[in-house]
Symmetry: C2
Subunit: 334 residues, 2 copies
């Protein structure tokens, strides 16, 4: 049920700094209060609207995997986002990990020591209505989804891998609110969907065109970009007849900084894609590029997904399982 | 009712060369026969299927404006296309004009001498089921559409300008089969439609992004690209907040061959467009280009539209007025 491999025993402690700063970014004037918490940790301040009553318009987010790169980037986006509050503890597989997120200290609760389910139940009391963001590991995906469902915690699953079909089926059947998507970069998803729409509506519009695809990622990425594969599938429906194995993978620094124009500071974290379509007679060419440096686009997309999920919960939407296409479809409501 | 300004009297003569070659490109084996025609001209060979009966699967096309650049390019595409036959005469405003189209001589029938309606009636007898393609002049658009409707001739209107609203309303009310579209470049229309679909389905997905637009055309084109304007409208629905007047118009040869990469032989006829979207923090960029040299894409798209119209007529489709989106939507049937 838990996500982690056993590790050394480490007490879960939770401290939070700058909570008032975070709360102050929320819309409207708010008062904060500090309550004591069992377990030796300081309860982060519950946000209460100055107009009275519990501040349930504040979106509280627990980021599991906060010590990882994507988790940390997402936690930062939560802290930056107006009206959002970061829960100062999170499930982790690393004993005693504490992560600083723009001044908010998030304590990693080692689930080999504390029961992960109990941690979620505690958070439900302390941060009512909180949403989980999961950026853990492929091998934890299914167990984590089951855990969130069991405790009725809405979640955004940003972690890739695992048995997706099983997870989607189980989460859907449970009626637990969730956004599950392998690609959180909202604009990339929008472009990918636009190419799919074009292929569905105008099959073979690019019949006879020659396609070339080049993608560059950090050299540690060995496999071909999943996004590139998905977009190639649409171009093939448009009549291109392209073989996935002909995608050019750029992984060497020289080509990345030269030919692809990747900024040096992003060599270790980027996703550049170029698709070029040329007509049979060579007189017409189309070129599409989506070039992402760092993780900000994914982090912001994830926080958008959390906000989306909160609105769906508030409106008691009968649909409970969503993907990024659903999030994008409500773009006007952001 | 006619399209032209009076000119000197020139007898309409029609001769055709290489008709058998053209017919031989049609699908299936065909025999050809020559029949005499009133009016002193040689009737081009009617194509008869070897299996017997009239060869009504041959798509016959009259290109009005064949002496112009777009008309000529389209007539060439007709001659090249399997199963299509070029009607060897066409309405013209130029007295005595004869145009060679890949070996097929097309005689311009001066409508200040012969009645344009009678020419169409004659063509109905000699080239049953023929479709008109119109690449004439903006000032002829409305009169020509009325003429085709009056004589029940299906047509593809590639000419831009005129009172579009009036034409569309009248042609629709008439029930005359027609494709009317200001942009015949099928793939450009598909891309434009894809951006519109993206904007409709994912409003504000690119909120906060900065857009830059650069377009290059032959220096004789003074106004801003209509396609660029249409696509910018979609990007604005996606949240870009771009002012049409900020589109960069490239009309000087140096920038065209240098920065834009326009081949020298296409300086006098090209349409290059680049759209670049950059995220607020500069970490994400999207670039879309559609670069067209010459007229082939428009000519091929026009012939596709003719084929589409013939299928609609054959199936007695209750809808009779179409645009290029409709043509693209049937892409799989080409």
């Amino acid at each position: 049920m838990t996500t982690v491999t056993p590790a050394t025993v480490t007490p879960a402690t939770t401290t939070r700094r700058s909570a008032s700063t975070v709360a102050a970014r929320g819309k409207g004037r708010r008062a904060t209060m500090t309550t004591p918490r069992a377990g030796g940790a300081t309860r982060a301040r519950a946000t209460v609207r100055a107009s009275g009553g519990a501040g349930d318009d504040v979106v509280r987010v627990m980021v599991n995997g906060v010590s990882g790169k994507m988790g940390h980037a997402t936690a930062c986006a939560v802290v930056r986002r107006e009206g959002f509050e970061l829960v100062p503890y999170a499930l982790t597989k690393r004993a005693g990990a504490t992560t600083d997120v723009l001044g908010v200290e998030v304590t990693g609760v080692d689930v080999s020591v504390e029961d992960a389910g109990e941690v979620l139940e505690r958070a439900k009391r302390e941060y009512p209505g909180f949403v989980v963001v999961d950026y853990t590991l492929p091998e934890s995906v299914n167990a984590n989804a089951e855990l969130y469902v069991k405790h009725g915690v809405p979640f955004v699953m940003g972690t890739t891998g695992g048995d997706r079909e099983k997870m989607l089926a189980e989460v859907k059947a449970s009626g637990n609110y969730a956004v599950i998507a392998p690609q959180m970069g909202k604009q990339v998803v929008a472009f990918q969907a636009a190419m799919k729409l074009m292929a569905e509506q105008f099959p073979n519009a690019f019949e006879g065109y020659t396609l070339t695809v080049t993608e560059s990622h950090q050299s540690s990425k060995k496999d071909t970009s999943g996004t590139a594969k998905a977009i190639v599938a649409s171009f093939n429906d448009l009549g291109c007849g392209f073989d996935i194995k002909d995608i050019e993978l750029v992984r060497d620094v020289e080509s990345q900084t030269g030919k692809m124009g990747v900024p040096e500071e992003h060599l270790l974290g980027h996703a550049f894609h170029t698709y070029r379509l040329t007509s049979p007679d060579g007189t017409v060419s189309f070129e599409f590029q989506h070039n992402v440096c760092g993780r900000n686009i994914y982090a912001e997309g994830t926080v958008d997904a959390v906000g989306f999920l909160k609105r769906k919960i508030a409106s008691k939407d009968p649909k409970t399982l969503y993907d990024m296409i659903d999030v994008l479809g409500e773009g006007a409501m952001k």
